[in-house]
């Protein structure tokens, strides 16, 4: 099996099958949608309050965080079919893969490592695939 991410002189070459690319794009769209849905566990996980001593966070800071999440996931959607990413796009992929992973964990209500170890089937595949992609992309970026 070839490496899915390989450093090139101009960025990171991406060698992923079409199904994985489509799954990542759909997952990014889904995470972005759930992140902006008040009451959704993904919203609480990705955009929950940062100052637990206050009644609510600074609205401007909340908006900035929402834009940042949407921006990162938007880059993944826009570049899901690309054969090569720039350094900046690859960094946004790391953010996006993490955001998708956190969204996935929130939907599955994963609290601790035992919950993760108990996963089976497609749920287990989703988590381990995202973790593997993150690890491989970090290796390629930091080479």
């Amino acid at each position: 099996m070839s490496e899915p991410f390989i450093r090139t002189p101009t960025g990171i070459a991406v060698d992923l099958v079409a199904d994985i690319r489509s799954w990542l794009a759909e997952s990014a769209i889904s995470a972005a949608g759930d992140a902006t849905s008040l009451g959704n566990p993904v919203h609480r996980r990705l955009l929950g309050p940062i100052d637990l001593t206050a009644d609510h966070d600074d609205p401007l800071a909340e908006l900035q965080r929402q834009f940042a999440v949407e921006g990162s996931l938007g880059v993944m959607v826009a570049t899901a079919q690309s054969s090569e990413l720039t350094e900046e796009e690859a960094e946004e992929w790391i953010r996006s893969l993490q955001l998708i992973l956190a969204a996935t964990a929130a939907r599955m209500a994963l609290i601790d490592e035992d919950d993760v170890a108990a996963l089976r089937g497609h749920d287990a595949w989703s988590v381990t695939t995202l973790q593997a992609l993150i690890s491989l992309l970090i290796d390629a970026l930091d080479t």
């Binding site: 100052d51 790391i94 953010r95 956190a102 609290i111 690890s135």
Partner: protein
Amino acid sequence: MNEFDTDFLGGTDTLQKTDIPWDVILWNDPVSLISLVVRVIRKVFGYDKEKAERLTMAVHQEGKAVVWSGDKETAAAYCVALHGYALSATIQPTR
């Protein structure tokens, strides 16, 4: 004593209230890879590898760790940067 000095003394209470140090708390989560957390801590705070690894292991083993302390505005900015990588982080006054 000139006017500037008087103003400064008059504002001492305010300075004490606003200058309370704040901690950035990084919380453990069950799916983020240790290698990812180390990388993000190094990238966000500029720590060396050893310090980033020590903090990451503290988060992993204790459930949370203070990863930075200082003024509230900067703490909030660091917290937002950690959230950009979907890491669970909060800020609170230093205890």
